[in-house]
């Protein structure tokens, strides 16, 4: 398990992290969500040792992280970077060896990964000769080639085509759920985060605004909303139910917020008495809606 404990970091007068703490358990995929400049990249850089925290600690399996431990982490920085003039395979082998993988093993895994990630092009071609999408896949291969115990990916999905998104999703799920790695990635594609992640960390202005599973976030954050579609009812038919208020209405469809003590069945009874009920059910907010609510 990766633990970020009370991380603080400032750049001049700008406070980038103001006491950030969260965990990424082994075998889990955690989505790291926040607006631009919220502190995601800074937190990730500190976790990888690329930046130093002013205060706080990064722990892996309960111990403070040192250089030897960091070599077992995999990283895909937001600002992608590879040697443009170095050959693809040679580059992957080099980066794997820097993290302590023996040469022969590094070579085998690099070739394997290039196939798995569906990198199109000659493995002995220079990186700069590949298309941007393929360079991105090579970048991902560089993060995976040493079979990391922890994978930290900064905006890994940006710039990928739909097929690339599927390939990357599968790779991350395999890394976490089959190989037992702890995976954390940042993304603005919230539906992807919702689909892939076991947990979410929502960061805002350098602080963790919410974290947990998506269901937990819903439970803690979401309002008690119900969507009712009734044909032939009077406007404001719900007024007779104390504690029910319309959030929005549209041509027979009403979204009602119910007070904690209001029984939804009572609302349904009133609706049926008012007209023909076509549909009735709770509204499950998407991660995007939760996100907007938290950062608003």
């Amino acid at each position: 398990m990766l633990e970020l404990v009370d991380l603080h970091r400032t750049f001049g007068d700008v406070v980038a992290l103001d006491g950030v703490s969260f965990e990424v358990p082994a075998g889990h995929i955690v989505g790291f969500v926040g607006r631009n400049g919220a502190g995601k990249t800074t937190a990730m850089r500190i976790a990888l040792g690329v930046l130093q925290a002013d205060e706080g600690e990064v722990r892996w399996r309960g111990h403070a992280v040192d250089t030897a431990t960091r070599r077992r982490f995999g990283y895909m920085p937001e600002e992608r970077g590879l040697y443009p003039k170095m050959r693809v395979l040679e580059q992957l082998v080099y980066l794997a060896r820097l993290r302590g993988t023996p040469k022969r093993v590094a070579r085998e895994r690099s070739s394997e990964l290039l196939t798995t990630l569906d990198v199109i092009g000659d493995p002995n071609a220079k990186v700069e000769s590949l298309s941007l999408g393929n360079q991105q896949r090579v970048q991902l291969a560089a993060a995976l080639v040493h079979r990391p115990e922890l994978l930290v990916l900064d905006e890994p999905f940006s710039g990928l085509d739909p097929v690339g998104v599927d390939v990357l999703s599968a790779v991350l799920q395999r890394a976490a759920h089959e190989d037992g790695a702890a995976v954390v990635f940042s993304s603005h594609q919230l539906e992807l985060v919702e689909r892939l992640c076991d947990g979410v960390v929502l960061i805002d202005h350098g602080r963790v605004a919410a974290h947990g599973t998506i269901e937990e976030l819903r439970a803690s954050r979401a309002r008690n909303l119900w969507r009712v579609e009734v044909l032939g009812a009077d406007a404001s038919w719900w007024d007779v139910v104390p504690g029910a208020a319309a959030v929005r209405t549209d041509d027979g469809v009403a979204v009602l917020e119910l007070g904690a003590d209001v029984d939804p069945q009572r609302v349904l009874d009133v609706a049926r008495a008012s007209g023909d009920v076509v549909s009735f059910g709770p509204v499950r907010p998407s991660l995007g809606e939760l996100f907007r609510e938290v950062v608003a």
């Binding site: 850089r45 990888l48 040792g49 690329v50 930046l51 040192d66 250089t67 030897a68 960091r70 070599r71 982490f73 990283y75 920085p77 600002e79 992608r80 970077g81 590879l82 040697y83 443009p84 003039k85 170095m86 080099y94 980066l95 060896r97 820097l98 993290r99 302590g100 560089a142």
Partner: protein, 394 residues
């Protein structure tokens, strides 16, 4: 720091070594060096300094004229000069030989004729021989005894001497020192620049963030400096070997021992000078993100090396001038200026010891300074990083 981490600089060094070795600019710089040295060595070899001079003297006339020619050949031999005498039956034939270039001059009764000019050495030898023959004729006429003749005909009655004899092979040594300092200048500047551009390459391609998530900045910096430095050293060895080989083959260098010594000296001072400058070049490179901005930040280092080079070349003429002595001791210029003075035999033991101590000491002191600036600046892309900010950020 774990044992595994300590060794990661080697991987960086090996990569940098092979990547630069395969670069076209490495091939070009090697060829350029070899070409410049070939031109210098061959120019020196064809300058006639390589072997003893020799002349062909045509002669037409009676026994007296032939005797002058023979006496000239004898006299030349004493001075380690070869004069070959060719007798011709007629003046016409000797003139044809002169025009054809098979003789350097033709001696006839009372006259020596060249084609366009007559070599001063040959002319002096023939004139002296002719003069001696004339004087001997007078001595014969007056029956002068042999002992007095010898005294009177000695054309070097004065013993010549100097207060301070120059070191032997001074010409050779100056030539070797010049080639040496030229090579050192090229290597120190060229490889220092390569360190700086290597740093920028990693910064501008953003791979530095990937690298620094795996190894420490100092390991990355050390690997880069050592890898590029070893390549510079290998290139220097090849070029020095080529220069000595060519020089010996063409007799441009009489004393290969001195040249080998000078080459070893150059290599030693290259290592020291590179150690001194490389971390500065790396720090300079880490301040900017684009190659085009590099010129602005390395101007001070450039100028220092250039001025050191100019002083070093100047000290070939007067290796004991105050500026030459000072430059050979100050760490910023010692790597270029001191080897010149050592090859010329001008540096004293204490000067060499002081210069080495200062250079090694300051190189050791500069490495952490350069490394700290590098650490503080290498992750900051965008506009140029100020020295003070880089220092504080590390």
């Amino acid at each position: 720091m774990s044992a595994a981490d300590r060794g990661s600089w080697r991987l960086v060094a090996v990569r940098d070594f092979w990547v630069r070795l395969r670069e076209r600019s490495f091939l070009i710089s090697t060829l350029l060096n070899v070409t410049v040295i070939s031109v210098l060595v061959l120019a020196r070899a064809s300058g006639g300094i390589g072997g003893p001079p020799s002349f062909d003297l045509g002669v037409v006339g009676d026994a007296d004229v032939i005797a002058i020619a023979s006496a000239t050949a004898e006299r030349a031999k004493d001075a380690h000069i070869e004069v070959r005498v060719h007798e011709y039956p007629t003046y016409g034939k000797s003139e044809a030989a002169l025009r054809g270039g098979s003789v350097d001059a033709v001696l006839t009764a009372g006259r020596i004729t060249g084609f366009e000019t007559i070599d001063q050495t040959l002319l002096a030898l023939v004139q002296t021989s002719a003069h001696a023959q004339a004087v001997n004729a007078v001595f014969d006429e007056h029956h002068v005894p042999p002992a007095e003749r010898a005294a009177a005909s000695n054309d070097e009655p004065l013993e010549a001497g100097v207060l301070e004899a120059p070191p032997p092979h001074r010409q050779d040594n100056a030539a070797i020192a010049f080639i040496g300092v030229l090579l050192l200048y090229g290597q120190l500047f060229g490889y220092g620049l390569w360190v700086a551009t290597g740093v920028i390459e990693e910064k501008s391609s953003r791979i530095v963030e990937m690298l620094l998530s795996a190894i420490r900045p100092r390991q990355l910096l050390a690997g880069k400096i050592i890898g590029i430095g070893v390549l510079g050293l290998c290139q220097l060895l090849v070029i020095a070997g080529f220069a000595i080989g060519l020089g010996t083959l063409t007799h441009a260098i009489d004393v290969p021992g001195t040249a080998i010594g000078a080459a070893a000296l150059d290599i030693g001072w290259f290592i020291l000078g590179y150690a001194f400058y490389a971390s500065l070049f790396a720090a300079a490179g880490s301040l900017v993100t684009r190659i085009e901005e590099l010129q602005n930040v390395i101007v001070p280092i450039n100028l220092t090396i250039l001025v050191s080079f100019v002083i070093s070349v100047g000290s070939l003429q007067d290796p004991n001038s105050p500026i030459a002595v000072a430059a050979s001791i100050l760490p910023v210029s010692a790597a270029l200026a001191m080897p010149v003075r050592i090859v010329l035999g001008a540096a004293t033991g204490w000067q060499i010891a002081l210069s080495l101590t200062l250079l090694i000491g300051s190189a050791i002191a500069l490495v952490p300074v350069g490394a700290r600036l590098y650490e503080g600046a290498v992750l900051r892309t965008g506009s140029r990083v100020k020295l003070r900010d880089a220092w504080r950020a590390a």
